[in-house]
């Protein structure tokens, strides 16, 4: 009668409601960018099966720990660290924007924890925040 199979995916789904974990912002990012699991995994350079483990990771701490935390997560899911950092920044920016109803520019949010030693990680604009979108966000 029931064809239900347990998996970590179900736990990752429940985790979207938990603010300390990456599940919520990542889901919002996928939803807003229209990305399926395969596409997000390709962007991160990891296997789609790793995404549920990524969702269960804690959000990286702000600088000066951000780089170290992203490196740890990237090693755990075998993903590209820079891509992961950009996706996390973009996901958290989008989440903050959706909470603040567009009162803050995403580039400012992404740069909030800027640190010279992490400039490569902190400075890049989120891949989803084009100039046009920034214009929109200020309206």
């Amino acid at each position: 009668m029931n064809h239900y199979q347990p998996s970590l995916n179900r736990l990752a789904l429940l985790a979207r409601e938990r603010p300390l974990l990456l599940a919520g912002p990542l889901h919002l990012y996928q939803e807003q960018e229209g990305l399926g699991d395969e596409q997000l995994a390709a962007m991160l350079g990891c296997e789609p099966e790793s995404l549920s483990r990524l969702a269960l990771c804690e959000r990286p701490r702000p600088a000066p720990h951000f780089r170290q935390d992203v490196e740890r997560i990237a090693a755990y899911i075998h993903a590209d660290m820079l891509q992961l950092a950009m996706v996390i920044r973009a996901a958290e920016s989008r989440e903050t924007l959706s909470h603040r109803q567009g009162t803050t520019r995403p580039t400012l949010l992404a740069a909030r924890d800027h640190d010279e030693s992490e400039s490569k990680l902190e400075e890049p604009q989120a891949p989803d925040t084009t100039d046009d979108e920034q214009e929109d966000d200020t309206r």
Partner: protein, 215 residues
């Protein structure tokens, strides 16, 4: 029995809040065992989705407040099984009240029409995208084809028991037992649907009001 060495190490990592992969690793390590233990304790008739949800919430609650657990008193596995089993009992008790017709029809889980009005209100934003996104959320939330069928019936305002019974295929059970099973399944799915859609709707409305680009 107190925590094992490995449990204690995980507990320390979680309490320190300085290792972003600690919880994911703990979940990988414990999740299947917890499901098995809770299922064994709850008995073979327990709904596997309710069991998995209870175990999931127990793990996530522990992650948010690890200091509630005392490794000197109890093993982490035992603590989480007890926590999940308690949640499961509460959920089962509520379903039994439904079975006994003791739950008010004003229970939010039964207010499908209000939920569907919200969904239909989104069509004014961008009909096709809203509907596509809604079904993507539903597909993800309900991987089981029977549950997915129940969602379709709910969304299509189906109030009669017969279509639900046809989906569930309860075999040769007496008619009143079939109706009871249909009601329970409808209640369980509606509760889950309501929770996930409420989140999605909140996000969709926010995007609509802020000129977001997904809808």
């Amino acid at each position: 029995m107190q925590a094992t060495l490995q449990e204690y190490q995980f507990h320390q990592r979680l309490c320190a809040r300085d290792d972003p992969i600690a919880f994911a690793e703990l979940a990988e390590w414990l999740y299947s065992g917890l499901l098995q233990d809770v299922r064994t304790r709850a008995g073979y008739r327990a709904d596997p989705m309710l069991v998995e949800e209870a175990v999931g919430q127990a793990l996530l609650d522990y992650h948010e407040q690890p200091d509630r657990y005392d490794p000197a008193r109890l093993s982490l596995q035992k603590y989480l099984v007890m926590s999940a089993y308690r949640d499961l009992q509460n959920a089962s008790a509520k379903e039994q009240r439904v079975q006994a017709h003791q739950v008010s029809l004003f229970d939010p889980a039964f207010q499908f029409d209000e939920l569907i009005e919200d969904i239909e209100g989104l069509k004014s934003i961008d009909e096709q995208l809203a509907v596509d996104e809604l079904w993507a959320v539903i597909d993800e939330t309900f991987p089981d084809p029977v549950d997915r069928g129940i969602v379709e019936l709910i969304v299509n305002h189906e109030h009669a028991s017969e279509p639900y019974i046809r989906l569930l295929q309860p075999g040769d059970l007496p008619r009143d037992e079939q109706v009871r099973l249909a009601k329970l399944a409808q209640y369980r799915v509606a509760r889950r649907l309501r929770r996930h859609l409420a989140q999605w709707l909140a996000r969709a409305h926010t995007r609509a009001h802020t000129g977001g680009d997904a809808l």
